[in-house]
């Protein structure tokens, strides 16, 4: 299966089929989609929360690197590529 790589100037947002929701039972944020649930840890949620269709991948990396006080580029890219390949992210064509 071909694997997509998210470009640094892409402006990702959650796909229309995906819902981000707080689960009071598991006490974490979850992504809900057809036939699947993905529980997010704090870092995962921090990344997803910045995917608003406006910010570029490079912006998200910069914001979180500053917030965490260390370079987080690899973590962010791995996570976003994982979401992209599960078709959980939408990237508008320029």
């Amino acid at each position: 299966m071909s694997v997509c790589e998210i470009p640094p100037d892409a402006q990702p947002r959650l796909s229309a089929h995906v819902r981000l929701q707080w689960d009071v039972v598991r006490e974490c944020q979850v992504l809900l989609m057809p036939e699947s649930v993905l529980a997010l840890n704090a870092t995962g949620y921090a990344i997803v929360a910045l995917c608003d269709g406006q910010r570029r991948v490079s912006d998200i990396i910069a914001i979180l690197s500053e917030q965490y006080g260390r370079p987080v580029e690899q973590d962010v890219l791995i996570f976003l590529n994982r979401l992209l390949n599960k078709r959980l992210l939408a990237i508008e064509d320029e």
Binding site: S2, H17, V25, P34, E35
Partner: protein, 362 residues
């Protein structure tokens, strides 16, 4: 006592009424005891209990869920409770007006069954003219912006159409397609000789699925499930008994899976008598095969016991009479010859039977 896991999915079988007669239907052989269906208010109470237990995915199924006149209201209430709501439908009654009402009510996802890729084969398997309505409904669903899953139960009579089935799914712009070979319980077990594919059919299907996955990687997710009769090890049925999922039948019986009612030695638990939490956490039914302590040999000392959980309890019961036996699909099972014989018959042309025993409807 170990803490119960939290269930993520609930299959709500709202009714066993259905316009189709598919010969592999997962509904019980005898549906007469399920006519006293839960009322809307009962479902809403039970859904609240399910959400409190941790269920996030609600699969509205049947029978045909659109036979319930209160479906739109139920979707609306379910959505308000925080479920991701999936409608699993034959789509015959999914008119544009109904689809719009469901969209407004907050329905998240629609899954439409197809029996094959053309009207003649599809209608023959469904036992009623239905293909054209399904195609129309699928287009409506996409036009309204729903994510669409197309599911096709594969078997001896349609697996050779797999390429056309994938093209149909692509043409209908399905987001997901589930191509699952028949699992032999209930109606499907009665029709096993007509439904079991040959080794050659499976070998021809495999590269077609692989090529479609490659070609459609960024458009469509393709789930392809092989028949477990051809496997070396059993399937991890339900990801383990009473671990992730539960099923509620039209009259409120709660089961670890759709087929579990076929095991007569198990107790019956119903939401009209007990809370869902008690049934999930405490009932003998849900604890009977939970974890690995119940396992006999060869499972109990097997390195794969936490991978496949001993396979399927219902299949073990149906084929050996003992629900606690190792799934006969496993090559280590002392009953494995039962599987080998069925596979051999399917490949030797002994399966001359071509007449379906159709699922009956009241």
């Amino acid at each position: 006592m170990q803490t119960s896991p939290k269930p993520a999915g609930l299959l709500a079988e709202l009714t066993y009424r259905c316009p189709l007669h598919c010969p592999y239907c997962s509904n019980p052989l005898d549906m007469s005891m399920y006519r006293d269906e839960l009322k809307l208010a009962e479902w809403v109470r039970v859904l609240g209990e399910a959400r409190a237990l941790g269920v996030l995915q609600l699969h509205l199924s049947g029978g045909e869920p659109l036979q319930r006149r209160d479906l739109v209201e139920l979707v609306s209430q379910a959505r308000a409770l925080g479920f991701y709501t999936n409608l699993i439908t034959s789509a015959l009654a999914l008119t544009p007006a109904k689809a719009e009402q469901l969209k407004t009510a907050g329905l998240d996802h629609v899954q439409i069954s197809f029996q094959s890729a053309d009207a003649a084969t599809s209608d023959l398997i469904a036992g009623t003219p239905s293909f054209a309505k399904k195609v129309a409904a699928a287009r409506t669903v996409k036009a309204l912006g729903f994510p669409l899953t197309i599911n096709v139960v594969l078997h001896r009579q349609n697996i050779e159409q797999i390429e056309s089935i994938l093209l149909l799914a692509e043409e209908l712009a399905a987001d997901r397609v589930e191509l699952a070979n028949t699992q032999y319980y209930g109606w499907a077990l009665r029709n096993r000789a007509v439904l079991m594919p040959t080794q050659q059919q499976l070998q021809q299907a495999e590269p077609i699925v692989r090529a479609a996955r490659e070609r459609l990687a960024d458009k469509m997710h393709i789930l392809y499930v092989l028949p477990d009769y051809y496997s070396h090890y059993p399937k991890p049925c339900m990801g383990g008994w009473a671990r992730h999922q539960l099923t509620i039948t039209p009259n409120g019986n709660v089961l670890p899976c759709v087929a579990a009612a076929q095991i007569p030695s198990l107790s019956t638990e119903n939401v009209r008598q007990r809370s869902l939490a008690w049934i999930w956490e405490e009932s003998p039914l849900f604890n009977r095969f939970r974890g690995t302590d119940w396992m006999p040999e060869p499972c109990s000392s097997c390195a794969r016991r936490d991978i496949d959980f001993g396979g399927c309890r219902c299949q073990a019961f149906q084929l050996t009479g003992d629900a606690a036996a190792t799934d006969p699909v496993c090559h280590l099972s002392p009953h494995h010859a039962l599987i080998e014989e069925a596979v051999l018959a399917a490949n030797q042309g002994h399966a001359a039977e071509t007449t379906f025993i159709y699922r009956v409807n009241d």
